[in-house]
Symmetry: D2
């Protein structure tokens, strides 16, 4: 790829562009866990569209369904009119996902992105409770529009708002302060003391594993206690499962193993299965007090996404897919533990759950170097955390073991090059 | 279509659904200006996805390109990594749209919906100026996320926020108060008097023709004076061309004939050409002070949309398309004028510009009845305005004259049935 | 007064000090309409503590009562405990002021300053209506604490907040835009159009004559129409009578001649009669839904002020005082009209009502020069308006005709020196 | 006192009145630590105007000076013009208070009440730093106007705002969560982690002993660490010494023994010495970037208060007054410890520091009963804390030992009656 060809982006695209700086090449084609650029280089994708490509690129079954649908002039765009593609999705989502998990949720189509579903969840929670404040958590990430940005922790992103972000109280996520302190002791004091300056909020919003915030996985007991606290105080619990959902942590919803039932759930990213813009907001039927059209959006009926999303649900019709994820998770986890042990120069710590994992390095800037080196070596992987201190493994869930091993090998090589070599000098 | 089949939506979809109530059938297929439902009924589409389908449904050229792209496993989802599909779009958009109009804009991909581009525009304006307030206009509509909702006038939508909407001052749009008063005399007094309680804002945001707000078209002189005022006070002018842009008012950008050059432009809806989620924010290069990643979003690189959007730009390579729109606009305008004259019971007034037109009826509820009757007669059309007092004609721009005539005929019949008949009794 | 002696203020007092810069001398003694400085210079006071000394300095009757009270160890400070001094005030205020005017108001003691009463009024209006927004008016001035500052128009003062001021919409005061436009046509359009972006507010707050804002007197018809609009939409009308009240415009309350009955009235400044900190908030009994202690303040029971305020009410026991004000107002008004006519170089306009009057000069900075020159000539007078374009006559209401004439003469001399002399060159 | 006579308050004063409900009698006269009502009953005052009467009622020296000043027609009201009374105060305050404590502060007169000084402090901190947020602490109390109310913890008071209170983050005061946790570990994590959602604030505002919040005394080490944290992050430290200052905790400023030097200090309540409305804001000279008049107020020049405040400073000219307070503090502390021990039914805990002390009882409602019983027995005392769980001893600082003993005796009797008696039955 010549510098010349990337020049079009430098010349015409805003400075806000970012991933094209980390991965400076022009991609042309992708299949499963592989991507190719214009010069024919092949890359293993451990990034998966930041969690939007959990089934890999261009899954053949979904692709076939989508081409058929387009060929037959199926409805493409429908706002929230009824279409067969939409009906099929709703029905299958209910049958394959909600019913078997005893989740009695209404489905809302709030616009096709993560921030749309989060904004709709916040609005609904405030409407239902008549309260204005929402409790968010340190290092939470929920989106870039003002409502979602208000509940996002990252200072750099918040500053981008250009206005003070209001109606939000940030509480410490699990393990935020130190290992001894249960941060919920702290949170509860604020709720129970009516001189605390913190009023009972409309909702708490959280990710069970924080993706952008540094692959922080909350303990299941912590999540259970959050649910109890919400119940005790009549606070709605919103789980933002945009990144951790759709299998990324091992189950369809990330909160299943914690044994909790959120009042509102936000889904997007991998929901369409094919990387197409799509989001839903799920909530308890008794919360469904929306007036018709009170929240709307032009692309809340993206029928191509309905088609691929319906096809994607096939993965969840029996337990084999979850079992495979579990199996491969163990491989990844063992690998990461070994890396931390074998390369003490990393000052690393394994983080995360399932296929949402990474290594946090105490060495300033090292994780960024590992990701850059990996890219040189043919693997795509991003970093996260307030100081980009975590390199983040997000392979597609359906990657085969061969691909997985190759990817892990590249990571080890990259770590080795960056840690062992200086010693050799 | 049996009630039974629509039941799946009633049972599982949130009460927030709305258009499926106005058009109670399940659509299956669409082509150009026609849609078909499950029972085989054919409809003429004068709704065009609220402006997202300016080229009609499933345009054959775009369809072909899209199927090819999918078949070859082109990149589907890429965040903001560089892809050939994206490079092609950027280049062609610059060559076909920006350059010929002497518009030297940087292109930002803010997420794929109208509200994403509006939120990014507001953030940028505040960042550039260091000011917090934004001036919006009465009956403006800009989106449902908190930032965009703050600059939206509609009380029902605003209430949905559940929190006070801040950092915004609403000024009267052209003709808001009455015909005699130039509302900008009013606005300027507020800016020039430093005891007015209104500080110099970061930006003004407006639509040149207000779609949701009642098809209010601002006079070109008014728009020119807005630009002058913005220049005088160092205020950034944001034109939200999400609904009025991409040809809807007769030119690619709705502001071309007014002779103004906004500092920031928001585009979405018909930009992909095919009804796929897509949006860009355009701005003067000197405003491009974004830090990399300061605003981001999972679906800011929807490559399917790049492919169809690039194909759609072919329409704009010479002047014939604009000429056709102009020609057909005259037909529509003459038709509407005649309707208003021939059916005085409507107490109607023609509103709008180009293919973004309608009739505002003073008779409470009558416009809704016209739209409902038209649907019975096989035409899809929506209403707008604070009291739904306008029935709104949004045919595809590339509708043929035969289709246009048929649609207009259905409208006349529907009006006639609702106005003449009672007289006959 | 030597510069040296003023040095203590320069050295130790904050830069925020202001009037001591306009009147650079140290005052020691005052009586009626006269003040004396350390060097024995005598000044005529046409400033009256910005409206806090409507009865002049150190009124002999009040002085006697106050010394007696102090000598007998009457309660000085009582929070809101019951005291005889407080009971006496409440009773006399009801008998002399409220009852004869058919005003059935509850009395609240919100803390002893103007901004305290305004803040309490805003809180009560929001509590009663459950709404958050308040409509204020251009060039309104209501105080320096965040709630009051939010409804104050002056940009310089607002900037002092350091945060965006919220929950307020500013509407144009009478004659704000131009003479032809009734600004209430505009305001009403915003209320009646539910797409206007302006929601029905909890309250409107206004001064009937704007003191700090430039001595703008609203027409009585305008005030009446405000009251009608408030009634129509269920909006509470708050009259901030802190500066215009207690006789300043000719009647005890400034709104009496307009024939309106505000829902809430704010009084302070001259209420104590003696220049002591004191304020009350008056409101319709049915609005009195405060919980005990919901708004409080350490100095809400300033008993010295109760004592002098009770004595001051004697002025209002019959109509003679009002008649005298009226008579002297005519003298002042005729004088100002003559000045404007005789000194066209002033480009002046007479403004205001009663004893709350001034001349607005179009000549940049001239009003400030007039006030400075007057001070040199032995008269104290301030300027107001967004550009200090008005020199403001606020003599004590009980000034005798001799004092009044002397003061007016100094003003004329000062104007003459500043306008005629250049012509002589 | 007959019910009849209190009727005037019930009939005409707002329901917001509160202390007159706890102490249902009409007071007429007061001297030192004694008050008398209309029926001639004598009360010992352990309330001291909630800290506004630290020198007791109507101190003879101040009284003499005040009467002289009034008799000679000294300036009463002067806004912020220079007067001899003001110059005298400034000079003596600098000589007796600031210089000996090595405190190089500028003095601002922000209006005469506690909430005025707090609002001015918050405005200045935001202006100096250009930041919007302020950190306040749980159970802090700073006033009733919107700016001060935003940093006040009490939910009941906050609700009175009628709008969401913004631009504030509440952090846990010393010992808020439990005894093990140093709450500043928590606070620091929020500051150092840039994903915490808490931005570096303009200021922290706190009381060293929280009066209204339940007589919580922060440890000196905690205060020192607060100062260190503020220094490390460039945060301004505001000590609100309105209630704890002017000797209440044993030294003139409450923070002296902690060895810290706040950037900004708020003083009011007992500052005038005589219970007259008066407040100052003190700050480091380099922070004095106010523009003239940027914050103002009608009663910022209350000369009667200057006169008594200057007289009051005589108490501080040598160390004997502080020594006496210290001595009597020990008596009080020993007494309270004994009460807690002797009356285990109280489930009491001694709280506070110096003359700002009380007993917190775990028994619901018991502290209120103690205060009510004490009133029956001739002693005035209030309760505080989020549940009124503390009965609060605020004797005048200059009470003699005899008066102190009598007061303590009444308290013991009242506690005994409420705890022992039931046992006796």
């Amino acid at each position: 790829m010549t510098q010349n060809e990337l020049g079009i982006f430098e010349q015409l695209e805003s400075e806000v562009r970012s991933y094209c700086r980390s991965f400076p090449t022009i991609f042309t084609k992708a299949k499963g866990y592989k991507m190719w650029d214009k010069e024919g280089n092949e890359y293993i994708d451990f990034f998966s569209g930041a969690g939007a490509l959990n089934y890999g690129h261009n899954d053949p079954t979904m692709k076939k369904k989508l081409i058929e649908y387009i060929s037959e002039d199926g409805i493409t765009h429908s706002l929230d009119m009824a279409t067969t593609a939409k009906a099929d999705f709703i029905k299958k989502f209910n049958d394959v996902i909600l019913k078997p998990r005893n989740l009695d949720y209404k489905i809302m189509f709030p616009g096709p992105t993560g921030t749309n579903t989060v904004e709709s969840a916040l609005k609904l929670a405030r409407k239902v409770t008549g309260r204005t404040d929402v409790i968010s958590f340190t290092n939470g990430f929920h989106g870039m529009t003002i409502g979602s940005l208000s509940v996002t922790g990252n200072a750099f992103k918040r500053k981008g708002a250009g206005i003070p972000l209001q109606n939000v109280v940030t509480m410490p996520y699990d393990n935020f302060v130190n290992d001894e302190l249960d941060t919920l002791d702290y949170l509860e004091r604020f709720l129970e003391d009516n001189g605390s300056g913190v009023e009972i909020p409309a909702a708490m919003i959280l990710e069970t594993v924080q993706g952008e915030g540094g692959i922080n996985a909350a303990r299941f007991e912590w999540l259970k206690r959050i649910e109890e606290i919400c119940n005790r105080w009549g606070i709605l619990l919103i789980v933002d499962d945009v990144q951790a959902g759709v299998g990324r942590t091992g189950t369809f919803f990330s909160f299943e193993k914690a044994g909790i039932k959120p009042d509102i759930v936000c889904l997007s990213k991998s929901l369409s299965g094919y990387g197409l813009p799509f989001a839903v907001t799920l909530f308890r039927p008794d919360l469904d007090i929306w007036e018709p059209g009170e929240h709307n959006g032009t692309f809340r009926g993206n029928n191509h996404a309905f088609v691929t999303a319906t096809a994607a649900l096939t993965y969840w019709e029996n337990e084999s897919f979850e079992n495979e994820i579990q199996e491969k998770s163990t491989i990844i986890y063992d690998f990461l533990s070994k890396i931390v042990k074998d390369y003490p120069e990393l000052k690393g710590e394994v983080k995360g759950r399932g296929f949402m994992v990474g290594i946090s390095s105490e060495v300033d800037g090292l994780s960024n170097k590992v990701a850059a080196k990996a890219f040189e070596n043919g693997l795509i992987m991003e970093t996260s955390g307030p100081k980009d201190e975590v390199f983040k493994l997000f392979p597609p869930l359906n990657i085969d073991k061969d691909g997985l091993e190759k990817g892990l090998q590249i990571i080890e090589e990259s770590v080795k090059e960056l840690t062992k070599e200086p010693v050799a000098n």
